[in-house]
């Protein structure tokens, strides 16, 4: 087990190193940021030179690379190209706002997906199953921007029940959370149904019935723990994807989180912030993957013991 945890952790760290380097290279080969930031024809060369010095763009590439690493270790990621504020500070004040949205989305998607999937599996072929699966296809197929705009039109414009966008009160949370958790919950429902059906068909469930156990005990002891193993993998990957998946919904509902920050920074060519956000998204993804591996090992004794 210890060996398993060790190997997986090392692997995650190696992935992170690769990502950090790749980010640096990709963002540098796309051109000189100063040229895309300032109107080249009308800006005097001294100003351009000044900006390049300000962001260390005048140094040789390897020095920039070393400086970039030093920054990461010291927790400084430079200053915004646009307003000069500290990048880490800008992102740090946005993270809790996104986490609030994502936390509720995560809870809602599990609250929708798991019971729906289990109910569908237990009533396979019945109207419950067909209803859940039809709803899952619809929920997954409907793009977030379509659903978001439809909801704004219905609940904010026509009915005037909810604020159309913004941040601050619990009412502001409702529409973005529903938009996000519908799509993710639909996928969770389908995976849950498949996982439960798979386990229900296994001989050990039949054996448990032959031993005289009650149906509820069999669900709790045989079916759900075994179905949880593949589900944890999927759910963990969602956890990583949620942070990055906030972009569209935050934009539609004017939610001032990091998704919205990414959109504004890209369109404003704010390289320092984009770079830091890409690293943040990658880090959450890598961390979520590591959690999945460890949870998987914990749930599955065949790995836990051999590890």
């Amino acid at each position: 087990m210890i060996r398993f945890v060790f190997i997986r952790t090392i692997r995650a760290i190696l992935t992170a190193l690769t990502v950090v380097t790749t980010t640096f290279v990709v963002l540098r080969v796309t051109g000189d940021p100063v040229q895309s930031l300032l109107p080249v024809e009308t800006t005097p060369p001294e100003i351009i030179e000044l900006y390049r010095r300000l962001w260390n763009l005048d140094q040789p590439l390897w020095q920039q690379y070393v400086g970039y690493w030093q920054g990461i270790f010291h927790g400084t990621m430079g200053r915004s190209f646009v307003d000069g504020r500290d990048v880490v500070g800008i992102i740090a004040e946005r993270i809790p706002i996104t986490l609030e949205l994502m936390g509720w989305t995560f809870v809602a998607m599990l609250a929708i997906g798991l019971p729906a999937g289990i109910a569908a599996a237990l009533n396979r072929g019945s109207w419950i199953d067909r209803l859940v699966m039809a709803a899952a296809v619809a929920g997954h197929a409907l793009p977030g921007y379509v659903m978001g705009i439809l909801m704004i039109w219905l609940f904010a414009v026509e009915l005037r029940w909810l604020p159309s966008s913004g941040y601050g009160t619990p009412q502001h949370l409702i529409m973005p959370v529903i938009t996000l958790s519908t799509a993710y919950g639909a996928v969770i429902a389908r995976f849950t149904r498949a996982a439960v059906l798979e386990v229900l068909g296994q001989p050990h469930v039949l054996a448990a019935r032959s031993q005289g156990w009650a149906g509820r005990t069999i669900m709790r002891r045989e079916v759900l723990p075994n179905a949880a193993i593949p589900l944890v993998t999927i759910i963990g990957l969602f956890l990583g994807g949620l942070i990055g998946g906030s972009v569209i919904v935050e934009w539609i509902f004017a939610w001032p989180g990091i998704g919205r920050l990414l959109v504004t920074s890209v369109s404003g060519r704010d390289l320092a912030i984009v770079q830091a956000l890409v690293l943040l998204f990658s880090a959450t993804m890598i961390f979520a993957n590591l959690l999945v591996d460890l949870a998987y090992a914990f749930l599955n004794p065949a790995i836990r013991i051999r590890g």
């Binding site: 060996r3 396979r124 296994q202 001989p203 050990h204 039949l206 054996a207 448990a208 019935r209 032959s210 031993q211 005289g212 156990w213 002891r221 045989e222 723990p225 075994n226 749930l299 599955n300 004794p301 065949a302 013991i305 051999r306 590890g307």
Partner: protein, 617 residues
């Protein structure tokens, strides 16, 4: 559901069957006239052992599940009644299921929750059925494991199913079944997934438990040998009906129904005089002439090591030296994990040896690079156990054969060549357009063999080619393999756990144990006069339906040791009835005996050389 009325609730009179099934029918919910079990009536006398035997699809397992009211959701009991001691059983079998009737299943590894340790599994059942908790339940769990002769019972409580062998898991399942001290035990193919030596152990255990507890037994199996061993009354089922039932001795000696008779004659020892083989008196031993296309193979010092994570290295193969003559069919037998399949994979180049090499006509058999690789692949073919998993489900059989012919540019007229190949394996032209799922098990394996023959191979490795097939189909496919082997002049390797099957198709037999060959020689000699104690044990584990041939068996104790912790000296000595001090210290080498036989055993060496060694103190 039809409920039999007026069943007297009076106490079971003497002679009332412990379990009686009357007019049982099972149908699909959607097509009620398509009966999967049709009007089956069976009786289990008190403390008796009822065997239900039949091929796949005969309805034997559904009959067994009906007793527990555990039919799959799409099926229902459309007619008939099931009574225990004269009283009809209520739907749901409350108070019966797991308590008065217990059940064990085919694949013990799969019938156990992989996330639950043995201890909680057993003490949970003890609590459910007997109300014991805590230390009392745990003590009872240990007692149950002792009752099924589980070595080191107390230590096993913390084990997960994947840490135990198949035989041990089946013992745990039986222990769980005994938790409620049931009156009847239903066993659905309880030994089918196990090795022959383990099968013998489990059947003995069931017999002992019956005798100790006066428990009734309903045993379902496709294997007449198993039924003959354990049942005293036998019902033969076919296509949902009971075609014949009689006391075991009478049924096996004087089968009345032609179906029973034909099944009994297709059991491998009788293959030579089976009805399907009337054209020939003895197995086909005529070695092909010198003009054979097959090539000879020479394996020298062949070893294959596997590195298990965090564990010692495992020798799946340990220094195999072997020469196979051109056109010879070599049979390989041994228990699971003995390395026989690893050897097959090395021979066809699917895996590489850690040490040693394989040569054909003096040149390496498998080469890695480019065109040479393609040519070497052409010479070698492997036929697996499960044909369904090797056939492409989305391509027709004919197309898959034609594809092979085109890839290797065998011929231009691929279509007629494909039809010839189908004919060679006794398939019809109409099968060419079928898909794998539209064929029966036997037809699928024929299709796989036809596809293997398409490349005109020189060497074909058959890895348990008939183990997944029904008995009557097994006989036909074995016969077909013997036939094509002569016609296509193949050098062949026939791997099986069943020494009867191997003996029928092979010229020589090699017996493997823990990655080594312990005995090798002409097939009939090995079969009739085995010298190595392990070969003797394998043969004595073979079950016969003929009461006269059922001799006192020497059952091997325990399982093969963990290959990661190989015993010192002779790997077989911990289970060997003839083990002496020398066997613990020195690994015996294969020694030549008379009649081109080789045996790796110190005890046999002494006999053949006439010398005696002193047993060290």
């Amino acid at each position: 559901m039809q409920i039999s009325s007026l069943s007297s609730a009076a106490p079971a009179a003497a002679g009332t069957p412990q379990l009686s099934i009357d007019g049982l029918s099972v149908a699909h919910r959607t097509s009620p006239h398509n009966l999967l079990v049709s009007d089956v009536s069976l009786q289990l006398p008190p403390g008796g052992a009822l065997g239900i035997v039949g091929e796949s699809g005969s309805g034997k397992s559904l009959t067994c599940l009906s007793i527990m009211d555990l039919l799959p959701g799409a099926l229902w009991q459309s007619a008939g009644s099931i009574r225990m001691n004269g009283a009809p059983l209520a739907p749901g079998r409350k108070g019966i299921r797991g308590r008065r009737i217990a059940m064990i299943f085919q694949d013990p590894g799969a019938t156990m929750n992989p996330l639950r340790r043995i201890g909680p599994f057993l003490s949970g059942l003890v609590k459910l059925h007997r109300g014991l908790t805590g230390a009392a339940a745990e003590a009872e769990a240990v007692r149950l494991l002792d009752a099924v002769r589980m070595p080191a019972a107390r230590e096993r409580l913390r084990a997960y199913p994947h840490e135990l062998s198949g035989g041990q898991n089946q013992r745990v399942m039986i222990a769980g079944a005994l938790a409620s001290d049931p009156e009847i035990l239903l066993a659905d193919e309880p030994t089918t997934a196990l090795d022959v030596t383990t099968q013998a152990q489990i059947l003995d255990l069931l017999a002992e438990l019956r005798a100790e507890r006066g428990m009734g037994l309903v045993l379902v199996s496709h294997d007449f040998g198993v039924i003959a061993e354990a049942a005293d009354h036998v019902a033969v089922m076919r296509a949902g009906r009971v075609v014949e039932q009689a006391p075991a001795n009478r049924l096996f000696s004087f089968p009345q129904h032609p179906y029973t008779a034909s099944l009994l004659t297709s059991i491998p020892p009788e293959l030579g005089r089976a009805s399907v083989l009337t054209s020939r008196k003895s197995p086909p031993r005529n070695r092909p002439s010198n003009a054979t296309k097959g090539i000879g193979i020479e394996a020298r010092g062949l070893s294959r090591l596997f590195e298990a994570r965090g564990r010692a290295r495992v020798h799946a193969l340990n220094g195999i030296d072997l020469t196979i003559q051109p056109g010879e069919m070599l049979g390989i037998v041994g228990e699971s994990g003995c390395g026989k399949s690893t050897f097959g994979r090395l021979l066809v180049g699917l895996d590489k040896p850690s040490f040693g090499d394989i040569r054909a006509d003096g040149k390496p058999l498998v080469t890695d690079d480019g065109e040479a690789f393609r040519n070497s692949r052409r010479r070698l073919q492997l036929v697996w156990q499960d044909p369904l998993s090797v056939l492409n489900p989305r391509l027709s059989i004919g197309y898959q054969i034609i594809e092979v012919l085109q890839t290797h540019r065998i011929t231009d007229d691929t279509h007629s060549r494909m039809l010839e190949l189908l004919q060679a394996v006794n398939l019809k032209a109409e099968h060419a357009s079928r898909y794998a799922h539209q064929l029966s098990g036997g037809q699928r394996q024929r299709a796989v063999i036809a596809r293997a023959l398409a490349v005109e191979p020189q060497i074909v490795v058959f890895d348990e080619p008939v183990s997944a097939l029904d008995l009557s189909v097994q006989a036909q496919v074995i016969e077909m393999i013997a036939d094509i082997r002569n016609r296509f002049e193949l050098t062949g390797i026939f791997i099986s756990h069943d020494i009867r099957v191997v003996r029928y198709v092979s010229d020589r037999i090699a017996v493997m144990y823990l990655g080594r060959i312990v005995e090798i020689g002409p097939a009939d000699d090995i079969y009739h006069t085995p010298k190595h104690p392990y070969t003797q044990a394998l043969l004595s584990a073979v079950l016969s339906t003929d009461p006269k041939r059922r001799k006192s068996r020497s059952i091997l104790r325990g399982d093969p040791p963990d290959p990661a912790q190989m015993p010192s000296g002779c790997p077989f000595h911990p289970r060997c009835p003839r083990a002496a001090a020398r066997c613990r210290a020195e690994t015996p080498a294969l020694q030549a005996g008379a009649d081109s036989r080789f045996t790796a055993c110190h005890a046999v060496d002494v006999e053949t050389s006439g010398r005696h060694w002193e047993v060290a103190a």
